[in-house]
């Protein structure tokens, strides 16, 4: 099986790189955004042909919610057009496309965990561009899985956990938003889940599923930060604040809990509690 991973320098892509060595039976081809701009159809086509790609995993995305508002074109080019290009090329090469998306396709006004069948209603440019990318993938790719993830963090790239760890070492106390609820996703867990799915996938079949993936349990950013400081043994005090105390550019949903039951049921996955996974990462960082 030949697996092409785009956006391999990002959080998810780096995690695929790190875990690939545990799957020597598969050939991985990694393309960072410098190596391959997924919105350039010819180049994507060529890359897929060269690696005789059976599966393409799209980890390339324009993920800054704030910058997407300031520069919608860049966001749409990667998140929508790039996804469309990958869908077309995957179709031409008979490859399964696994595409990552986000809880930002929802408006965050639900009081209960979002299911895959819930109506979407993105609040801003980032969410709209990811939603339109999903739609292109589902419409064009003959075989695809769209996986929407929650609050993603990892050892790589920029993310909330790494920011908290850095600030926790620099400061005595820290204000963190307490009124937004969601489910963290440790990138290692999400990638391990995809690897498990790849082990079970039948390439003769055509898939067309949308899934939600998040670690078990819920928290606010405040709970998340408290837990980060605790697991990393940092003495920094975390104080809960209301969201209104911060001026944010991009619209943020209030409630972002995803219901992961479908992916668990269909692929027999076990997902660990968010605090357990967090302890794994902060342990990795510090010991």
């Amino acid at each position: 099986m030949n697996i092409m991973v785009t956006g391999s320098g990002g959080q998810l892509g780096s995690e695929f790189r790190a875990l690939a060595c545990a799957y020597p039976q598969w050939n991985f081809f990694f393309f960072s955004h410098n190596a391959l701009d997924i919105s350039e159809e010819e180049r994507v086509d060529e890359a897929m042909r060269e690696c005789r790609c059976n599966v393409v995993i799209n980890c390339a995305a324009f993920t800054s919610v704030d910058r997407a508002e300031a520069d919608p074109e860049a966001s749409f080019r990667v998140n929508r057009d790039g996804a469309g290009v990958l869908a077309r090329c995957a179709g031409e090469h008979g490859a399964l496309l696994i595409h990552f998306s986000t809880y930002y396709v929802f408006d965050g006004l639900s009081p209960m965990p979002y299911r895959e069948s819930d109506p979407v209603s993105p609040l801003g440019v980032y969410g709209i561009s990811k939603w339109e990318g999903e739609e292109l993938v589902r419409r064009i790719a003959p075989s695809c899985m769209v996986i929407r993830v929650g609050w993603l963090y990892s050892r790589f790239g920029e993310n909330f956990v790494k920011t908290m760890l850095r600030l926790g070492r620099e400061r005595d106390s820290l204000d963190v938003v307490a009124d937004r609820v969601g489910s963290p996703v440790y990138a290692t867990d999400a990638v391990a889940a995809v690897m498990e799915i790849l082990g079970k996938v039948d390439l003769k079949r055509c898939y067309s599923s949308t899934y939600h993936y998040a670690n078990e349990g819920v928290c606010s950013w405040y709970d998340f930060a408290v837990s980060i400081m605790k697991t990393a043994n940092l003495p920094c005090r975390v104080l809960p604040v209301e969201n209104t105390s911060f001026a944010l550019n991009g619209p943020r949903p209030w409630y972002s809990v995803l219901d992961s039951n479908a992916i668990k049921k269909e692929w027999g996955l076990d997902i660990s509690h968010w605090e357990k996974s967090l302890a794994v990462m902060t342990g990795n960082t510090f010991h």
Binding site: P111, P113, D179, E216, G217, V218, V226
Partner: protein
């Protein structure tokens, strides 16, 4: 200052009893529901007169959501009528009435923490009765504080933490609902907060405030149970389940997080993180049971 506490055998009442000795400057008068049925006006009136009550703390409530669905009359008698009686008597005796209420007055369909001025639209009979009680107090008591609280637990009475601790000792795994979000309230924290309000309260003034109180942070029942097992060092595995896999009798809100900013700001109270409180509570419960 003479403080009368009704429902003194319940979770909150017992916690007030336990903490009263730290405030020897005040006289506490405790009434369990056997001593005093708060829906009986003449008895309540007499009790208040006898203790020359300055403050009445109403910890008496009919708290079973399920039983309230099957016997709404009982729930209304205590939660609405009882509150009304206390409001009347507080008025006659010139006492400040502190009433505890619940997140159950909301429909649980919000996706951000409930504030005091959000519309109350209870779905359960329990929530309806508690809201009716609140409203009688607002219209009758000249001076009152209404404190709505989140998911209450304590070493006393029946509650989620005690249930999980006891199941955790018997079973190797346990399914707990993971799709409902709220904020736990350790009764000892709440009572300490009320005591510090009592220190600051000016009995010459009249109050008419509604507050929300909950531990800092949020969780699902599943997260809550995981934290209990971890702190109690029990090997029981907690598995997340959906609400529809665990049918209950009364309607339960999905989202029950309360914004506690107003009470913190008005009274300068600091509220601990829910897991920090839970750690203390679990130690206390284990030492009480051993």
């Amino acid at each position: 200052m003479n403080i009368m506490i009704t429902g003194s055998e319940g979770q909150l009442g017992s916690e007030f009893r336990a903490m009263a000795c730290a405030y020897p400057q005040w006289n506490f008068f405790f009434y369990s529901h056997q001593d005093l049925d708060i829906s009986e006006e003449s008895k309540v009136d007499k009790a208040m007169r006898q203790c020359r009550c300055d403050i009445v703390l109403n910890c008496a409530a009919f708290t079973s959501v399920d039983n309230a669905e099957s016997s709404p009359d009982l729930s209304f008698r205590v939660n609405r009528d009882g509150a009304g009686v206390l409001a009347q008597s507080a008025r006659k005796n010139g006492a400040l009435l502190i009433q505890f209420s619940t997140f159950g007055v909301f429909d649980g369909m919000s996706s951000r923490p409930y504030r005091e001025d959000d519309d109350a639209e209870p779905k359960s009979f329990y929530g309806k009765a508690k809201l009716a009680g609140e409203n009688l107090i607002r219209s009758t008591a000249p001076s009152y504080l209404i404190i709505r609280i989140g998911w209450l637990y304590s070493p006393f009475g029946e509650n989620f933490v005690k249930k999980i601790l006891s199941l955790g000792q018997k079973r190797t795994s346990l399914g707990v609902v993971s799709d409902r979000v709220g904020s736990p309230v350790y009764a000892a924290d709440l009572v300490a907060a009320v005591m510090s309000i009592l220190v600051m309260v000016d009995l010459q003034r009249t109050y008419s405030a509604t507050y929300h109180y909950a531990g800092e942070g949020v969780c699902s029942w599943y997260d809550f149970a995981i934290a209990v097992m971890k702190l109690a060092k029990l090997p029981c595995q907690i598995l997340p389940i959906e609400s529809n896999a665990f049918p209950v009798f009364g309607p339960r809100p999905w989202y029950s997080v309360l914004s506690n900013n107003a009470i913190k700001r008005d009274w300068g109270i600091a509220i601990p993180y829910w897991q920090d409180s839970l750690a203390l509570a679990v130690i206390r419960m284990q030492s009480l049971s051993s």
